[in-house]
């Protein structure tokens, strides 16, 4: 940060955290797929009980 001009620093500080958002979306997609796998790939295949 020390090598950046004030303009560049301000732009960086106000820009949306795209990398973080991408990581969050990847995490959400992984969580969703894992849940669907447990529901349909494990629970469902064992035979419904009621």
């Amino acid at each position: 940060m020390a090598d950046l001009s004030e303009d560049e620093q301000r732009r960086l500080m106000t820009a949306p955290p795209r990398g973080t958002l991408v990581l969050m979306l990847l995490l959400a997609a992984a969580f969703l797929l894992a849940w669907l796998y447990l529901y349909f790939g494990v629970y469902w295949l064992r035979g419904l009980a009621s």
């Binding site: 064992r46 035979g47 009980a49």
Partner: protein, 164 residues
């Protein structure tokens, strides 16, 4: 109330995921009856040996006229009776349990067969075992010092090999 735009996006993602989970659960519950077992039927736990259904010579698996199988079992400290039950795969199986003494739980490992057995009530569960195998049936409600040793065995055989 101020919400940061990034946090707002994350809230939308969490709400969308929750909506998907809820939609899947509600849809399968309504369309396929995927719901926890529920049966309200009372019985005198102290008189099981005199009852028509839970007397010792009536326990076990038997074929029903509609092609399904009914399994009647008694749970008592510290075992499930009969100890070994054999049922066919790909066939509707209705389990009915009663307890002689205290609260027990029954769970066949690796299957969805699990419910509580409450004194004074008949527990009932209907399921289909999709593939043959041998499953350990354990008690999953602490019932006393011998709880760890309370188990039985459920054998699921191919439908053609089952003799009711």
């Amino acid at each position: 109330m101020h919400i940061d735009p990034s946090e707002r996006k994350w809230i939308y993602v969490v709400l969308a995921m929750s909506a998907i989970f809820l939609a899947v659960i509600v849809y399968t519950a309504v369309v396929y009856n995927a719901a926890p077992p529920s049966n309200v039927e009372t019985i005198d736990s102290a008189q099981l040996h005199l009852s028509e259904e839970f007397a010792e010579d009536r326990l076990g698996a038997r074929a029903m006229p509609d092609g399904s199988v009914r399994v009647t079992m008694v749970a008592a400290r510290y075992g499930f009776f009969p100890r070994n039950v054999t049922v066919p795969a790909e066939t509707p199986v209705t389990f009915r349990w009663a307890t002689l003494d205290v609260l027990h739980g029954v769970h066949a490992e690796g299957t969805n067969m699990a419910t509580m057995i409450v004194p004074g009530f008949v527990s009932q569960l209907r399921t289909v075992f999709p593939k043959p195998g041998v499953y350990q049936v354990i008690c999953n409600e602490f019932c006393g010092v011998g709880h760890d040793y309370m188990w039985s065995q459920l054998t699921v055989v191919p439908k053609a090999e089952w003799k009711g």
